[in-house]
Amino acid sequence: MTYQSRVYLSFGSMAALLLIVGFFQSWSVAFAILNLCLISSVMVLGVNMQWGYAGLFNAGVMGFAAMGGVAAVLVSAPPVQEAWQAGGAGIVLSFAIAIATAVAVGVVHWKMKSGDLAKFAVITAIIVIGFVLYRMNLDPAVEAIEAVEPAKTGFLGGLGLPILFSWAVGGLLAAGVAWIIGKIALGLRSDYFAIATLGISEIIVAILKNEDWLTRGVKNVNGLPRPVPYEIDVQQSPFYQGIADQLGVSIVEFSSIYVKLCYSALFLVVLLVIFYLSEKALKAPWGRMMRAIRDNEVSANAMGKHVTGRHLQVFILGSAVIGIAGAMLTTIDGQFTPASYQPLRFTFLVWVMVIVGGSGNNLGSVIGGFVIWFFWIEAEPIGLWMMDLITSGMAPENALRLHLIESASHMRLIMMGAILLLVLRFSAKGILPEQDRQSHR
Amino acid sequence: MSYLIGQNMTGGYGRGADILHDCTVGVEKGEIAVIVGPNGAGKSTAMKAVFGMLNLREGSVVIDGEDITGLSPQARVRKGMAFVPQTENVFPSMTVEDNLRMGAFVREDDITDSMEQVFGLFPILEEKRLQPAGELSGGQRQQVAVGRALMTQPKVLMLDEPTAGVSPIVMDELFDRIIEVARTGIAILMVEQNAKQALNIADKGYVLVQGRNRFTDTGAALLADPEVRKAFLGG
C-alpha cells in the first residue's frame, strides 16, 4: 500500500467511524468526540515534535496540559476584588521576595568563586532568610484570600478577559516551565530527563490541587466564560429557530450541535495552523537537523551542532503546543478540575497516540489523536460488552461475573498498555510512517 | 596447516561494506604471529573475524582441524580461544583477583594453579590482588587483561594491540611476558601498531594493506625485506 492510499484510507475510516456514531448514536455525541479528537491531535502534535522530531521522552505531558488549564482560569475567570483587597498585596510581596531571593542566589553564584565553602554558606543563608520572609508574607495573605466567600470564590480570580486569550497564555506558561526543566535536565541522560519531566508534572498538579488561593484547588473553578454562544441563547433566537425548522430538527438538538460545531471550527483553525507550522519546521533545515541529531547524536555533536540547545528549542515549542491544547480542553469543559489531571489520561494516552499514529509524522499524529481518542471513549462500552459476553454463561449474581463487570472500566488501562507495547514491537512506524527518513532507528 | 587459521576471509561489520578481502592469517601452537600494517588496513578486523565478531561472506576459520566458522565468540571461548580487546579489557570495579576469577568463569575445576601461574608471570598482580582493576595504571591493567584471558586455559591467545598507550619500557616488558606465554605452548595471535618491535618477537608476520595480505613471512624475513622496511617500518 502506498503512503498516499494509507493516508486516504486512515482518514476515510476515521470519518466513517464518526459518521456511524452520528447516525446510530447521536450527532451530538459524534461532535463531542470530534472536538476532543481535535484537541488531542493538537496535543499529540506537540509531543510528536519532542519525540518524533528529536527523540525526547517527555513523561510529564500532564503537567504542561495543566499549565494550559491554569491559563484558562487566570485569563478568563472574573477577578475577585475582595480577595485582592484581602491578600493581593501579600501575595505580590511574597512573590517579589521569592524573585529577589532567586536573583540574589544567582548573583552570589556568578560572583563568588565556585567550590568555596563560604559560597555554599551564603547561598544557604539567602535561601533560608528568603524562605522565611516569603512564608511570613504568603501565609496570612493566603489565609485571608481563602476566607473570602470560600464556598463561591476564596481565590484571587482571573483577569476576566475572553477565554480565547488563554490559549496563547497557556502555551506561554507551558513554555516557561519547559524552559526551566529543559535547562536543568536536557543534556543529561535520556532517563534523567524523563524522570525530571515526570516529577515536575506531579508537582504542578499537586500545586493546583492544594493552592486554593490560586485556582480554588479541588473545589474547582466552574462556569468559565465561553468563546461560543450558549445553547439557551441559540434556542431563544428566532433566527436559529428558523434554520432548525428548515432542517427539520428540534431546536434543542440544533442548539447543542451548533455550539459544538462552533467549537469544532475554532479547534480546527488551531489544529491547521499548528499543523502547517509543524510541517514547515519539519521540512526546513531546522527539522532536518533535528532528525539528524535524533538518529545520531554522537556524530551530530562531532559536527559541532549544539545538541542540547536544539533539544531545548524543540522541547519548549512542543510543550507550548501541549499547553495550548490544555487550555483548549479547559475551555470546552467550561471548568477547571485539578483532580482530573491523571497521568494515564494526559501523559500516557497522548504517548499512545503519538506512537500509534506514527512517530515523526505530523499527519500520523493527527490520525493517532483521532483513532485513540475514539477508542478511549468507546473502550468502556466495548470492555463492558466483552465482559458481558465472557460471563454470559454465569448466573447473574455470580461473584466473579459481578467482579469482572465492575472491573470493565480498568480494561482501558490494560488495553492502552497493550496497544502501546504491541505497536511499539510489531509496527514501530505506526499508522502513517515517517516520510523521507534517511536512516532507520 | 596451522593450528588456528582464518582462510580467505571476506566480510565486514553488519551489512556494511567488506573490509577484508580474501585475507588469511594463522598461527601454530607455541608460536607468535603478528598482524601489522598501516592505519585502517583491517588488522583488528582480521583478528575479530577469526574470533567470530563479524560475519564472513566467504572463507572459513579452522582450529585444530575443526571448522568453527559458524560459532559465536562465546562458543569459541569454550573451544580454547581467548581474546583481549584493545580497550575496556578489565572489569574496573572488581578486584584484580575477581577479574582473574571471572576469566575462569566457565571452568569447573580448581583454578588456584592457573592463578599462581598468572601471578608468577605478572608478580605485580599478586601484590595488587585486592585492589579494583580500575585503579591500576595502564600497563598494569593490560597485565590484568592478559591474565584474565589466560585464566580460561586457552590454546590460542589473541591480543588486540596490547601495547597501545603504554610506555616503551612497559612495552618491552609486556613483549617479554608474551614470549614466556608462547613458550608454554599457547598460540599467540596479535595485532600491533609498533611493527618493528612486534616483528622482532614474531615467528610469523602478516602485513595487511586495505584488508588484503600484502606480505607474509617469518618475522625476521619481513624485518630484513627492504620493501617492507621502506613502506611499513620507516626505513
Partner: protein, 336 residues
C-alpha cells in the same frame, strides 16, 4: 527548655518513620538499580512491580487467613511474601520474554526501553486494578505496636511518647536481612560476581563465557524479591492503595539517582537521604520548638516548612540539585 521531651518528639515523628520509610525506599531503589546495572535502562514500571508484588502478598494473606494460618503477633502478610515473590519472578520473566528481550536483541536505544517500560507500567496497573480493585486494602493484622506511646510515657515519665509500630520494626528487620543477603550474593557468590562483571563490562563478560541470558534472569529474580518486599512493606506501613505506587516512583528514582544509578550502596544511602528529607521538611516543628524555646517565643503557626501535600516536591528538588551539582550521584553509579 526541655531537651529530653524535644528529642523524644523528634525520634517519634522523624527518626522512627524516617527509618521505616527510608528502608522501603532503599529496597525500591535497589530494584531500580539492579535493572539499570544489568539491563541498562530506567525501569518506569518498577513502581507497579512493587504494587503487584504487594497485591500478590495480600492475596496470599487472604488465603492464609481464610485457612486460619496466622503467625501472630506478626502480620500474616509476611507469610504471603514468599509465594508472592515466586509469582512476581514468573511475571517479570514473562514480561522480559515478551517485551524487553526483543529490544535487547535489536540493541535498541535506552529510550525505547523507557517507552516500553512505561507501557508495561500502565498494563500492570490495569491488571492490578482488575484483580484487586482500586480501593484501599487494610493489611495489618497481628499486634499493631511493639511499643505504644502510652507505655513509653509510663516507662520514662516524659510528656512525649515514642511509638514503634510492628510494621515499622518488620520493615527495618526485613530490609536489613534482604540487603545483607543481596550484598553477600553480589560479593561472595560466583553468580553474583558474574552479575557485577556483566554490569561492569558487558563485552568482556561475554568474552569470559558469562551467559547473558542467565545474568538477565537473575537480575529479574532479584528485582522481584526487592520489589515485592518493598511494595508489601510500604503497604503494611501505610495501607495498600494501588494508585500510590505511581507516585512512589518519583522518590524511588530520586533515591537511586541521588545515590548513583547502578550503585547498590548508593541506592541505600539515597533512600535514607530522600526519606529523612521528606519527613523532616514536612514535619511541623511547633511542638519541638515549644520544648526548646522560652514560652514567649512559642510560634503561632505549625512551623512546617512544606505541607505534606508536597512531599513529592522534596524528592524532586533534591533530585534536581543532584542532577545539577553531581549528575552521577553520591557514589558515582554505573555498575553493581
Amino acid at each position: 527548655m526541655d531537651l529530653l521531651n524535644a528529642l523524644v518528639a523528634l525520634a517519634n515523628y522523624i527518626l522512627v518513620p524516617g527509618i521505616a520509610y527510608g528502608s522501603q525506599l532503599a529496597l525500591g531503589a535497589l530494584g531500580v538499580t539492579v535493572v539499570y546495572g544489568i539491563l541498562r535502562f530506567s525501569n518506569f514500571a518498577h513502581g507497579e512491580t512493587m504494587s503487584a508484588g504487594a497485591m500478590f502478598a495480600i492475596l496470599f494473606m487472604w488465603l492464609f487467613q481464610s485457612l486460619g494460618i496466622t503467625i501472630a503477633p506478626l502480620p500474616t502478610i509476611v507469610l504471603g511474601l514468599i509465594p508472592a515473590i515466586l509469582c512476581m519472578i514468573v511475571y517479570l520473566l514473562i514480561t522480559d520474554r515478551f517485551v524487553y528481550r526483543y529490544y535487547r536483541e535489536q540493541k535498541a536505544k535506552p529510550v525505547i526501553f523507557l517507552v516500553a517500560s512505561t507501557g508495561l507500567m500502565f498494563l500492570t496497573n490495569g491488571i492490578i486494578r482488575f484483580i484487586i480493585g482500586p480501593d484501599e486494602q487494610r493489611v495489618s493484622d497481628g499486634a499493631r505496636f511493639v511499643m505504644k506511646a502510652r507505655e513509653f510515657k509510663q516507662l520514662t515519665g516524659l510528656n512525649e511518647g515514642l511509638a514503634i509500630k510492628t510494621s515499622q520494626l518488620i520493615t527495618v528487620l526485613a530490609a536489613v536481612a534482604i540487603v545483607v543477603a543481596l550484598f553477600w550474593f553480589l560479593e561472595k557468590t560466583k553468580s553474583g560476581k558474574s552479575m557485577r562483571a556483566y554490569s561492569d563490562n558487558e563485552n568482556l563478560a561475554l568474552l569470559s563465557g558469562i551467559n547473558p541470558d542467565r545474568v538477565v534472569m537473575i537480575a529479574w529474580t532479584l528485582t522481584a524479591i526487592l520489589a515485592t518486599v518493598a511494595g508489601a512493606l510500604y503497604g503494611l506501613d501505610k495501607g495498600y492503595k494501588p494508585f500510590t505506587y505511581l507516585q512512589l516512583l518519583l522518590p524511588v528514582f530520586a533515591s537511586a539517582i541521588v545515590g548513583g544509578l547502578g550503585s547498590p550502596i548508593g541506592a541505600i544511602v539515597g533512600g535514607f537521604v530522600i526519606a529523612f528529607s521528606e519527613v523532616t521538611i514536612t514535619y511541623a516543628f511547633k511542638k519541638v520548638i515549644k520544648y526548646l524555646a522560652p514560652d514567649a517565643w512559642a510560634p503561632e503557626g505549625l512551623v512546617q516548612l512544606l505541607s505534606t501535600d508536597y512531599k513529592f516536591a522534596v524528592s524532586f528538588v533534591i533530585l534536581v540539585v543532584v542532577l545539577i551539582v553531581m549528575p552521577t550521584g553520591i557514589f558515582k553509579g554505573k555498575s553493581l
